[in-house]
């Protein structure tokens, strides 16, 4: 687990948020508490690893609204939603918004513990994936215009001679460019190359 991870606990009930803070600290993870969604939004800096544990019903902005606000700002913080009164529409809305899970107060034994762990893992995975996407984009960016034209056609499944004809260059030139592309991507097969390009296009953030 990322040693820099912080669990953000938003609950307008003091006892409740402090107890979650204790639970998180017992995991050896840092926790910060906020009495309202507004307070959290004010002091949160995106980019730091961690997750969010929020109550639904609070004075002012609700936990669900907070979740939607984060999504609208393209902040990928995994969210564990807690509520004292779960109902179907609420649950559906929270899960559609991408909540890790929705738990009812009081939670069973280590449900919350598990949920927070899951959220932190998810955050780590998301961060790793984002990192990878950034790497692929860097590699794509390092290609020359000619190399990029060849790559696009390779991904489209075209043979070298077809590509050579289309670009009106010799097959030899195409083979040189292919060699450069494989080198820059560190890929070993066309299949891998295709997967990387698709991956980079999957989430255009």
């Amino acid at each position: 687990m990322d040693p820099n991870a912080t669990v953000h606990v938003v609950d307008d009930h003091e006892l409740a948020r402090n107890s979650v803070c204790a639970l998180v600290e017992s995991m050896g993870v840092a926790a910060t508490v906020y009495a309202s969604a507004e307070e959290f939004l004010e002091s949160y800096h995106p980019g730091r690893p961690g997750c969010l544990v929020t109550d639904v019903r609070m004075l002012g902005m609700s936990g669900i609204e907070l979740q939607e606000r984060l999504a609208a700002s393209k902040i990928d913080l995994p969210v564990v939603v807690i509520t004292a009164h779960a109902n179907t529409p609420l649950t559906v809305r929270a899960m559609r918004n991408g909540a890790v899970t929705l738990l009812e107060k009081p939670c069973n034994d280590n449900d919350l513990w598990d949920a927070i762990r899951e959220a932190l893992d998810q955050d780590e995975r998301q961060r790793a994936a984002a990192h990878r996407r950034r790497q692929i984009r860097d590699r794509l960016d390092s290609l020359t215009q000619q190399e990029r034209e060849v790559l696009d056609r390779m991904v489209a499944g075209k043979l070298n001679k077809v590509i050579a004809r289309e670009l009106d260059v010799s097959i030899r030139t195409i083979e040189n460019r292919r060699h450069n592309i494989f080198r820059k991507f560190g890929a070993e097969s066309v299949a891998e190359l295709v997967r990387l390009v698709m991956e980079s296009e999957a989430d255009p953030d």
Binding site: L15, A16, A22, S26, R57, L59, I82, P106, C107, D109
Partner: protein, 523 residues
Amino acid sequence: MSFNKFRVLLVEPEPGQVILAQRAFAAEQQRFELLVAPTLADARRLIRERSPTLVITDLLLPDGRGTELFSATDEGPPVVVMTSQGDERVAVEAIQGGAIDYVVKSESAYDEIVHIARRALRQWRLLLDRDRAQAALRESEERFRQMAENSQQVFGLISADLRHVLYASPAYEKITGRCFDSLYENPRTLLRAVYPDDRAQVVETLRRRVADCSSRPSELEFRIQQPDGSLRWTRAILFSVCDKSGTPFRVGGVLEDVTQRKEAVEQLRERELQLAHVSRLNTMEELLAGIAHEVNQPLYAIANYAWACSRALAAENQSIPVDKLKDWCEGIQSAASRASEIIKRLREFTRRVDDQRAAVDLNETIEQSIELLSYNAQQQQVVFERELCDASPKVLADPIQLQQVMVNLLRNACESFEQDDAQGELRVVRVATRIVDHYAEVLVMDRGVGIPEDSESLFNAFVTTKPTGMGMGLAVSRSIVDALGGTIKARNNADGGATFIFTLPLVREVRSNGSKRNGSRGR
């Protein structure tokens, strides 16, 4: 004296005698008119037709004896017998028979006939007056007896030494279940009928009545225990009867059985308590989801803290400092006491109360009521703003009933806001307490849609503006506040929303403190 002439009927068969009589009365024409009848039959006719004031009759008449006129004139004029034949025996008979006078006829008798007539009339008037007085007395006595004997109340009169019962009316037997005779034989019977716990009060009042004539009648209520052990509530008014020097020589009293009235009042009070209880249960039902949520908060905290502690104590994890563990255990403790506090409030609020009044701190009651409502208020995005006076005003009330009034008003305020208006924005309900003269005043101000023009109708039972309301809240609140000697009213604010105000008399010792504080503030 009458200004009418006296009409005298002379029943006399002898014309010579008649002339003598006429001569005698002629001198008194102003005052007397003389009628003459020679026979009994004529006399009867004239009595019937002319209604003479006085009849003077001879004993022996051609058609009978003059004494026969007595019966004929039973309702009529007095009769004087005037005869020359009679003796003492006849005289006795005549007087016993009803004659007002008996005169022996002589030459001089006619000289005195006017005088005799006057004397007879005077005598007659005295007799009439006496009869009338006696009749009046009899009637007055009868009236009193009718009243005393038919009354449900006991009238009584006791000597100042409290040793002799001079009079007691028959209702005594009914109220006390004891017979009269025992009372006259021994006045202490009366005291023995008084329920032992109440005797001292009765004796004390009687003593005061004997000692003091000047004060107003004493009123007191005490219980009478009937021989079968059953209790009757009675209400007595005792007064001193004093002689001219102002010294009490008797004590009078009226005793009334008020058991039924007391029971009716008791029943009414009982019903009001029941109604208040039902209304509280109803309120609680509506608040229950919120309160369950409030209990869940500390339970959730306990579960989290406990899990954290057990993880921290697990063998593989020794990095948590002991101070943290202590903090978490304290967290468990405070969460547990918080949960039990909420449950205690809940139980208190729904408890059937007996109107047990004590000095209650209004500010505290407000805090407790806000706590009961906290979740529901939050749901409706309502925050309470408090402006409570520092003096912590104390009022005499049943704390639960007072809380009920407070919860009703605060809840109404929370629900007064338009549905869906200003989503996400906080709605403010202001709660203020202040001291005005000898009263504590509580104001609950909202910024809602306001109340109808006829704000008084809100306090009627079954009047509600809410789709799910029973319409009991304000009606019950009013009956509670009324019973505590306070007032409750509502008005719209000039700048929107409504204000509900209720006042309650301050408990005395706080009163002086309060005014002192007010004084120092003024300086």
